[in-house]
Assembly symmetry: C2
Homo-oligomer: 330 residues x 2
């Protein structure tokens, strides 16, 4: 098994190596290939995603992507490496679970999965401006909508889940969001045992905030999925524990949802849980090792349950000490 390891910037350099250390215990034959991406890479090489990194990611198929810093204002030649990587590797679905974990201040009883389309919508990067009027293209295709819906329903079925909620704003965008909704409903017809319903994105945000417990799978276009998954993270213990997997036919990228957190970088206190749980998603959905995935998830859960936590969760464990504790519970 091969894993392309991209630390990125800031705390990516701390959580990723520690999470990989834990993974090695589960997969003793793991081969890793280190690759570069991010803001420092951009400053050194003029690109945030070097060709060598893309080649290594393609070759390995499985990737762990830490976090990258990005400029607050447009910088000529800079493009978001994670957005590029998702598209280049054909990772059409972004899978983001939110779980009630112990010791995280999370609300109880939450076990939801957001499946976010990962290649189009406003993320196609087609913008124009004359300085006073700017336009961006939101593109939705039936093919990409179908594909991500198929992933959502398949994951729902495999995970013993009962309901998929399609998120859209088709009252305002009947053609684009309507296409997403209709493509998803067509896929739903192939899964008669899974209930399907739909919510406007504004209502979905409200209901998530009122009772995230009421959700099972949420299926959303790219931008709504971006917003709702950060929101859901608030109810599952925050960004320090929010995991994601970018999933495609030829590659998968495990990606903690958090950013590079320059404010705490370099101090060895960043929370590795998001990276660990992202690797568990990779084990389950890419490497088809559900037992190992569950073992890792259980160990993380028991560590947190035993009151061991990094400072973001009110504990005093460092990144390495937390991972030691997870290793001791594997």
């Amino acid at each position: 098994m091969k894993l392309c390891v991209i630390n990125g910037d800031g705390i990516g350099r701390e959580v990723v190596p520690q999470a990989v250390r834990v993974l090695r215990r589960l997969l003793p034959d793991l081969q890793t290939v280190d690759a570069e991406a991010g803001w420092d890479t951009f400053r050194q090489q003029g690109t945030a995603l070097p060709a060598a990194t893309l080649a290594a990611a393609r070759d390995c198929g499985a990737v762990l992507f830490g976090a990258v810093s990005s400029p607050a204002y447009p910088v000529a030649g800079y493009r978001s490496p994670i957005v590029q990587l998702r598209r280049e590797l054909g990772c059409h679905a972004n899978v983001r679970p939110t779980l009630s974990l112990p010791g995280c201040g999370a609300a109880g009883g939450i076990d939801l999965l957001i499946v976010r389309e990962n290649t189009e919508d406003l993320y196609v990067g087609e913008e124009q401006s004359d300085g006073d009027t700017a336009t961006a293209i939101k593109r939705i295709t039936r093919a990409a909508s179908r594909r991500v819906a198929e992933t959502a329903f398949r994951l729902a079925q495999d995970g013993g889940r009962r309901r998929v909620t399609i998120v859209h704003k088709a009252n305002i965008m009947p053609l684009t969001d309507g296409l997403f909704r209709d493509a998803a409903r067509a896929v739903a017809a192939d899964y008669p045992q899974i209930a399907v319903d739909e919510l406007l994105v504004d209502t979905a945000a409200l209901k998530l905030a009122q009772a995230a417990q009421g959700f099972d799978v949420l299926l959303a276009p790219n931008l709504y999925g971006d917003i709702l998954s950060d929101l859901a993270a608030a109810f599952g213990g925050g960004l320090g524990v929010a995991a994601s997997l970018n999933l495609g036919a030829e590659a998968a990228i495990a990606e903690p949802v958090h950013g590079s957190a320059p404010d705490i970088a370099g101090r060895g206190i960043a929370n590795p849980v998001a990276s660990l749980l992202s690797l568990a998603l990779l084990l389950r959905h890419w490497w088809a090792r559900p037992t190992l995935a569950a073992t890792l998830e259980q160990a993380v859960r028991r560590t947190l349950g035993d009151g061991i936590a990094t400072p973001d969760l009110g504990g005093d464990a460092g990144t390495a000490a937390f991972c030691d504790a997870v290793l001791a519970r594997l």
Copy 2:
């Protein structure tokens, strides 16, 4: 003083007349002009916003718009009457406060104001589709961005507020969201006593969920404002109490954020608080009657504080009984 009264559909027909009854006590000389809009109107007249309604709204300047039902699937000729009305009347800003009200299960200490651009973004309604690929235009102009930012900073100043947070996703949309952000920052320069900062929309959703108390004014493009204001409503006691004012140079539309709620329509139990507080916004920001606005807000607050509430808030008061209680406290 003239008010164009548009009940709309469903519970709009219950909360609006009751709220107007309360307003009459504060403004004994109030003249009202009833006008039609919504789904029933569309079915009867082939348009959801008849020309006569638009003319009445223009003539009055001040409008109370209840709620309308809209079709789940596109219907030929149907366009959202509220979106049309906002644009036709030039109501460039949508002002949505969230407050910790008593008796609403609201988190304590919240007093934030979302100011949402109200005329452009993906709401321009420019979509195309060949059935397999659909595109929508997101349009951001410097003029509209400036205008709504000016409203946000002016309201911040007038309301004794200290900070405006610009919401965008300029890391993905540097030209459109970047233009919004830059136009807002240019306006901020005219208000040196008000702090300005910015947040990505996904982070804003997360932080609102974690600590809505930390926010003062949020300034957002149309769609993000739509999502974030519904989200904020969750922390301020829900949609039953969420008020808004669509504000322009020539007209203002008071609009409860909730929908037509067909599930409870016709039973006389809908919550009139959102309509009452929307009228308070109209009194303060359009009719320049801040004392009357405060009187109305205080009466609503005291009613709720005395444990009188409609069923959505766990009480057993009907719409009319709640308004009687408010009148008794004016």
